[in-house]
């Protein structure tokens, strides 16, 4: 089968992988990058468990050809913690709010929520729901997930104001 070299930036470092052209981005991130936060859930764009940011926007990596990643900047959940491995505020908020049960959906929800927690103006709960409408959770009932996202965005806005 045809293979190709793909060069892109993943979680801040330049990577070059030789891949089978039939790979999805999720195949490449897990298989070549060892980034297991990227889940193989439905694999057809329904559940959001494979969500990563590509040039800052959330995409389902299961329905994104790995070859399309050429030259792109990709962020996965692993890229959120700092160099020492300390987790980020949004991850901590998910833990504190009880928004994690089995945890399978969690990386996808967190990545999908990034555009909203990095915004200047606060988003309403309805807007948060809309932002994560492409993510499914079989355990938590969603409310706690919305709480965690809401809490983090408030915290970040307050921190900015304090500066």
């Amino acid at each position: 089968m045809a293979s190709r070299t793909v060069t892109c930036t993943i979680n801040g470092s330049k990577k070059e992988y030789v891949i089978d052209v039939r790979s999805s981005l999720s195949d490449m991130l897990r298989g070549k990058g060892g980034l297991d936060s990227v889940k193989h859930g439905c694999d057809v764009g329904e559940c959001g468990a494979c969500t990563v940011l590509i040039d800052g926007q959330p995409f389902n990596s299961c329905i994104y050809l790995a070859v399309w990643a050429e030259g792109k900047t990709i962020l996965t959940l692993e890229g959120l913690s700092d160099k020492k491995g300390t987790i980020s505020d949004i991850q901590q908020a998910f833990i504190d709010e009880g928004a994690v049960q089995c945890g399978f959906c969690t990386p996808g929800f967190i990545m999908a929520s990034i555009p909203i927690i990095t915004k200047e103006e606060p988003a309403s709960r309805d807007e948060i729901r809309k932002q994560v409408a492409g993510n499914l959770c079989r355990c938590t009932g969603y409310d706690k997930i919305i709480n965690a996202i809401e809490k983090t965005q408030h915290k970040r806005i307050e921190e900015k104001m304090a500066k």
Binding site: V44, G45, G48, A133
Partner: protein
Amino acid sequence: MYNFKNLYEPTSVLEALKLRKEHPEALVLAGGSDILIKIREGKLAGCDLISIYALDELRGICLEDDGSLLIRPLASFTDVTMHPLIKKYIPVLGEAVEQIGGPQIRNIGTIGGNICNGVTSADSAATFKAYDAVLEIASLDGTRILPYAEFNIKPGLVDLQPGEILTGIRIPQTSWENTYGCFIKYAMRRAMDIATLSCSANVRLTKDKKKIERLRIAYSVAAPTPIRSHTAEKSANDHVINEELLNKVAEGALADVMPRTSWRASKEFRLHLVEELSRRATRKAIERAGGKING
């Protein structure tokens, strides 16, 4: 790993057209939110693909010298919703595609793919029909212009010949100028769902805002392909704005649509939706245009 055979990756539209000619059986892959899923399901397993997704010359939205709004086919649903020109001239299109899937799907799904796969439920289709969009279709022999009204042949089949690629969707100035629209999607869920039925209406009112100068109205899932109701439009044009007008629009629409029963909904329920959504969308479009029902 996807189960497809060959992947061709042109780096220009010209190269893509050459590949289309050399490999007429290969499918054109835009964002892939339709084709890649069908490959996963096994329906298209083993196919050949020509990926045009990386062709940035097919992205973007602009206003042409002749006043038409040109949307390139690889503009994503998010691009369309967020674009200032869309917000200014045809916001109803942005509202329509904002109801597709979830954010991730709206980032990858393209406006061209939405109309080229030819399904009756395409969320942008009713609005493009109602704004009388015009398509630019390129091949090695040149570019032909085709009214979107003539594009859909039957479910899943559009007038794209071997060797051709959709390169632009135009909304002529005569369509958007001074018009106000409303799109309503009826679905079982508020996100990640396919329309049970949807309606897109737009109106231009007379100067005194007492009469309809022109109504255009179209539907998704009300027939085997997206359909515009000329009967509804005719009965509305030049009509004073009142409740009777809304009834006539609904009646006219019922005369033109041909919905069927599917697992999503029965034919009877769809007919009911046609009637009700026609009224609601027309009413809202009139209000947006500054008109008052029975005012």
